[in-house]
Symmetry: C2
Subunit: 420 residues, 2 copies
């Protein structure tokens, strides 16, 4: 007997999380005998708690297909972590109430580590609170820090954006260096792990190519050594292009970004780490600098998404539904690398219990000995993930991203629930 599914997006969004949504909804639509309808949570799990459900059956096939090339979270995301059953019993009971009212038998939760933890906890309410629900996580994170899966949808596209951008900006700086800017610093995301910063290294294919220096959160920042390397690079190649992770830090754990200037009230300065690094170079070496902070641009840049990433994001959405249909519970589909040269992959399956709250760090052997670049092993791992372009359709010079109708499912409960 067919039941409804609940789908929600969680945490920081990516250029391809909607491709996973597309995979979930399109696959569910092929199995109406098992999944009656997909209800999406408006703003993640909050939509379930507040009974704010979006009826995806009201969206046309064309609009659902367009999710594949639309960045960010079409249904809204949230930063909200469910606590354990003991601490948040009221929330779990409310979830069951809403799920029961809307005959929801499947939950697909699309997010990173925290979200997989939530999926895992919800999967337990079946046993613990007597409500049968099949829970399948759908991985997503630009940070690439989920365990077991070879990579995370969202990461490949940020990686491509970062590698393309530092290559382009470095061509610019190289042109200007004779009489003007000699230093370019580009700040990228990744507070805990240097995966995104490492991706910048893909732009450097031969000696002298940018980026000349990558500052990883994993490598303690040594100002003296860094400045010496910058100076040597400028003297040898005429300019120096630097990729710095927002998580770059000193030996005592202080972020470089925090160690910048302070305002007249003693507050840490507003800027990120890029201006701090740029100014440090100018103060010590006198070189003219420019810096960029891509921020959301990097994770929203669907126009330069990796085709591999888009395919994997879609495939994992599809696999999640197929796992649920095959009777699996408390699992998350994964990417399994099955071959190098040519790169091949397939989807696999991990238990949510093994995924929740485990952070995958960059292996030390991915960072070059001097701490400023990536190794061949790292390049071999990263390179396939940025392969291929998957351009969105354009009209009048602009990418055409879909905005869904987002028709609300009529509420069946007469109780408000305040999310705190």
């Amino acid at each position: 007997m067919a039941r409804n599914a609940f789908y929600a997006q969680s945490g920081g969004v990516t250029a391809v999380i909607n491709a996973s949504a597309c995979g979930v909804i399109e696959t569910a639509r092929k199995h109406p005998d098992i999944i009656k309808n997909v209800y999406a949570g408006r703003n993640g799990i909050i939509g379930a708690l507040t009974e704010d459900l979006i009826d995806t059956s009201k969206e046309s096939d064309a609009d659902i297909a367009a999710l594949r090339h639309t960045p960010a979270g079409a249904f809204g995301s949230c930063r909200y972590k469910l606590k354990g059953l003991e601490d948040s019993r009221a929330e779990y009971e409310r979830l069951i109430e809403v799920f029961k009212a809307h005959d929801i038998g499947y939950l697909f939760y699309n997010g990173g580590g925290d979200s997989q933890d939530t999926s895992h906890k919800v999967s337990q309410i079946g046993e613990k609170l007597g409500y049968p629900i099949t829970c399948v996580g759908v991985p997503k994170t630009v940070d690439n820090d989920l365990p077991i899966t070879d990579c995370c949808p969202g990461f490949g596209s940020v990686a491509k954006y970062v590698a393309v951008s530092i290559r382009e900006a470095a061509f610019d700086v190289a042109s200007m260096a004779k009489t003007s800017t000699k230093i370019f610093v580009m700040e990228v995301m990744g507070r805990h792990a240097g995966w995104i910063a490492a991706a910048g290294g893909l732009a450097a294919e031969k000696e002298g190519d940018a980026p000349h220096i990558i500052l990883f959160p994993e490598v303690v920042f040594d100002q003296e050594k860094f400045l010496a390397r910058v100076d040597a690079t400028v003297k040898k190649f005429g300019y120096c292009a630097i990729v710095v992770s927002e998580g770059a830090q000193y030996a005592d754990g202080t972020f470089l970004a925090e160690a910048g200037t302070r305002d007249s009230f003693g507050h840490a300065q507003l800027g990120g780490v890029a201006p701090v690094v740029a100014k440090m170079v100018q103060d010590a070496l006198g070189y003219k600098y420019h810096w960029a902070v891509a921020d959301y641009l990097q994770r929203a840049a669907r126009h330069i998404a990796s085709a591999t990433d888009v395919e994997q994001a879609y495939a994992l959405g599809k696999a999640a539904v197929e796992l649920a249909i095959s009777g699996k519970n408390a699992v998350m589909p994964t990417i399994v690398r099955t071959g190098e040269n040519p790169y091949t992959w397939e989807t696999g399956c991990a238990n949510l219990a093994d995924v929740a709250n485990v952070e995958k760090m960059m292996p030390p052997e991915f960072i070059s000995e001097d701490g400023y670049g990536i190794t061949d092993a790292c390049r071999a791992y990263l390179s396939p993930l940025i392969q291929g372009e998957d351009y969105p359709p354009f009209k009048d010079g602009l990418p055409q991203y879909v905005e869904l109708k987002k028709v609300a499912v009529p509420k069946k409960l007469n109780k408000e629930f305040i999310v705190t």
Copy 2:
């Protein structure tokens, strides 16, 4: 009798200045009876002064063709402005010496306002110092501030980058706004004129679309009014996306960027205007923010260049050579808009005397009455300039940009010239 041509790139580079170089060199190669060889200045006019010339005949046809899809200045640019003949007689005499030694009869100078001024001055040395040379400027500037020409190559691609980026980032913020970021501020170039900021407005096609607020250098910043608008936008649409020009300023002419925090030594803070605006909103309204400073990324982003811009950049390089061949001197080819809906254009011709040192500002009627958006007239002007995509070739996930061999022309003079 065929003579050589000198070509150089000047000022801040763009995503398409090499497309103009491609147009110049490919067209010159078709007229070997008139133009023997194109010598490029290494780092702009400095290459001429120091007799540091690049022999473009050593570059393959394929590599010259690849300039069309390669960003930045392939021969190196410079920020160096020749003074008047009276103040810099030694420099002009040196130029003649180098031109004479290398039989240079044509000068193509690819740059913005300052560079066209240089082209104009050099054109005068024919009469004043008795050296016959045909000088033709090739327009280039992301700032779109050259007069007479309908638009400037380089601008259309920055405009497209900015419109695409704010659209994408706004989708991201809209997803996050419920429980996290509600304010996104993107800083763009344009210290004197708001052309680039205005281009962000192209992303907003219907009510509620981002950007909700554009801060132009042309509109005096009114903090109270601005904050009220931000708050109203968040209350109505859930979030607020802002494009701010680096030149945004207070009534007294102080840049917002300068009015930010100061470090412990009293120096103005390192950051740009985006963090200042973001922090201002948070302090007053308490909304969580993110900000981005695209900096060089915006003008180097050849991967998302406007096809119209690329075509025009090439066409103006080609037209410059054709003007020279037809005997015109002291001129600059221009873009003439010949039709709207469908947009059509052709190349025209302006006298350098009319171009030099004239800055084209945004017409007041291009800015909406409230000062925070663009008018339909502005949209009608801007929209054609971002039309079409012209993707570079990719390999292994990365754009393939050409690096030329840059073989030096053997020096003929035994005199060093020190550029100060």
